[in-house]
Symmetry: C2
Subunit: 244 residues, 2 copies
Amino acid sequence: MSDAPSAAEEIMDGVYSALRAHGYADLTMRDIADECSKSKSLLHYHYDTKEDLLVAFLEYIVSDSEKRIAARADDPPVERLVQFIGWFVFAPDETDREAFHIALLELRTQGPFNERIREELARSDRLLRGTVADILADGIEAGVFREVDIEETAAMIVATLDGARTRQITLADSVREEEDDGYTRTVAEATLRRIVEPLLTEGAELPALDTAIEALRRDPDGGADADADRGADADPDGGADDAE
Amino acid sequence: MSDAPSAAEEIMDGVYSALRAHGYADLTMRDIADECSKSKSLLHYHYDTKEDLLVAFLEYIVSDSEKRIAARADDPPVERLVQFIGWFVFAPDETDREAFHIALLELRTQGPFNERIREELARSDRLLRGTVADILADGIEAGVFREVDIEETAAMIVATLDGARTRQITLADSVREEEDDGYTRTVAEATLRRIVEPLLTEGAELPALDTAIEALRRDPDGGADADADRGADADPDGGADDAE
DNA sequence: GCTCATTGACTGACCGGTCAGTCAACGAGC
DNA sequence: GCTCGTTGACTGACCGGTCAGTCAATGAGC
């Protein structure tokens, strides 16, 4: 239980804050250094180049998502799928979660220009689509889902949620109306009703999205085992909570 | 019918080419100037700042999409919807179009940080979602679509297609298998089968996606009126072909 | 000869990265 | 338990290079 966060962690937090404050295109080493109250030189001491630092950051958040998903691997398929969908939804006031997705989206745009980043993004894609595919396969085996084209269904669910979130992020915030609980949520509900529900076999029941989101909010790491290996060094603000 | 393209048009073409070649994050005024064989100073003569220029470019391509969509406003609803969906799909070998969408995505990520860009993106969103909503409304009136929640359906269709294309773009060639004609296409087909088809009333028939795409490719401006005002100087590769 | 479009040369700001050096912690030797 | 050499973490000053933006001068058209 070291209460002093390691330098590496502080720097990762700095990248995260700087990214949400400035966006990728305007991100400088100075921004990152300022954001974690360190010197620019220190960043270069730990990471040779700016690219190295950003790749490390991507690795960091993708790995975090991997852990979170793994922690829920044993939940029942239907609950797990609804929870996965809920994962993409965030209310307008959840600035942290939203800012995180902004940061990630910025990084995604660099995929086409940077192989190392692209590699990491591909890993994240395998993680997300693979997770949905696993859930579907488990559900089919357990008899709660009909036999559908697993890959296609997974691709479609991920694309839809990702697209909704991207649109919400890029269009949002200053002009947002109060009562709008988020474009993503509307689409997530529609996804459940129009894509997931037709998948269910007779008798299988779909939990409410709100319930799943609430559960995620209360227990972001998945209740599974309390000794989840992030354990000792888990940072206080929960760190990165998703990956693309 | 001026055969000499105006400076403004040449500059817009320059922005387009430069964005394709360099992406947004690495886009410089020199890149744009070189791409349209003009001087950097001239760009500043016509547009005070780089931001002004980019906002003007966004306006330009959104307006272009507006015209293209308007040109097809009188097509039958079902065909129009399938064509709209086909609009999002491009084959892996269309590198130009893909590169442009990459740049556009980068521009979109500037939304959260730049109000003028965000404004233009919002206009584009209204255009896309509004178009689908119009098509659905027309189709319901014409009796070819069931009475559904128009806004929700439009939101979902646009989110799905946009998400699929974004994923295809950002993950690019590393994950792509040869026989894969594009992630977007898979999702577009699935969208037709799982979202659009359940909308149809008895007797209504869904045209094939390929047919719609082929029609778009042959006649990008919509057969309506041949004097479409870009007319004379339309650049060979079709120029800006979409808006987010 | 006046206006407008256009240019090349220029500037100040700022970027990523380097480098010489500071500082606290730690262990070895006595 | 004090000193001293060593090491790893960290910093401020600085460098070459690049960027957006400026400006005086030139040319084209009327």
